[in-house]
């Protein structure tokens, strides 16, 4: 699965976090460090598997934990319409 950022979504980095806001829905979400890393990977065009592989490689945490955290994050962002899932 690949994710795209809707063109109505704005992004702003703040000290220690970032905020994404969808103009169309007025929904927003705060991104912590890991969220920002995932967001940048999505911006760069990475699909879900590539994001997961990068996180497993870069972070010292069990792969299962990373997978479930990533799934929860992506599902939440899609639910808030801050990301759009694009099936291959």
């Amino acid at each position: 699965v690949r994710y795209t950022i809707p063109d109505t979504v704005l992004h702003r980095e703040l000290p220690g976090e970032a905020v994404v806001l969808n103009l169309a829905t007025a929904e927003y979400s705060q991104l912590n460090h890991l969220g920002q890393v995932i967001w940048e990977l999505i911006r760069a065009g990475s699909d879900r598997n590539a994001i997961e592989a990068t996180l497993v490689r870069e972070y010292d945490a069990p792969a299962e934990r990373i997978r479930s955290d990533l799934t929860a994050f992506l599902n939440r962002m899609v639910e808030l319409k801050l990301l759009k899932a694009v099936e291959p």
Binding site: T8, V9, E13, L14, P15, L21, L23
Partner: protein, 148 residues
């Protein structure tokens, strides 16, 4: 000496106020109606081409702030900024809407303002104390331009 003064508003100011009142109403309706809202907001977030005219910006800002007092519902910073941006663009003056946020303890604050766009610092703020680009660490930081 009389501490109070009764300043009358001239016909031109009244006309400006009437235009501002109507523009505020249009802004509120366009924000509330989902259809076309995002496209319109993205458009006003882009810097428009045009001349720079700080005097006109000041005049219209005053008109919009005055007119906002004659609406039944309180007009928020987004309504006022949008009204000013639309009025300035109609007059060929370069401007853009800015939307920003800042963290205040546990709370995330959002704010909208109008930005004069002649490569200088913002020239007017349509409803809040913070100016982007100021050294004030509590300033609202504008969102990045959306990809178009």
């Amino acid at each position: 000496m009389n501490a109070s003064s009764n300043r009358s508003i001239g016909p031109i100011s009244l006309l400006l106020m009437a235009e501002a009142w109507w523009e505020l109403l249009r802004a509120r309706v366009r924000i509330l109606v989902p259809s076309g809202r995002a496209k319109w907001l993205r458009n006003v977030l882009r810097i428009s081409s045009g001349r720079h005219d700080p005097l006109a910006i000041d005049k219209l800002t005053v008109a919009v702030n005055r007119a906002s007092q004659y609406h039944v519902r309180p007009m928020r910073c987004l309504d006022r900024s949008l009204a000013i941006v639309c009025m300035l663009r109609r007059r060929g003056i370069a401007t853009a809407l800015k939307i920003g946020c800042r963290r205040q303890g546990e709370v995330l604050d959002f704010h909208a303002w109008m930005d004069g766009t002649d490569d200088s610092a913002p020239v007017a703020n349509a409803g809040g104390p913070a100016h982007p680009g100021s050294p004030n660490e509590n300033a609202f930081l504008p969102f990045d331009w959306p990809k178009l």
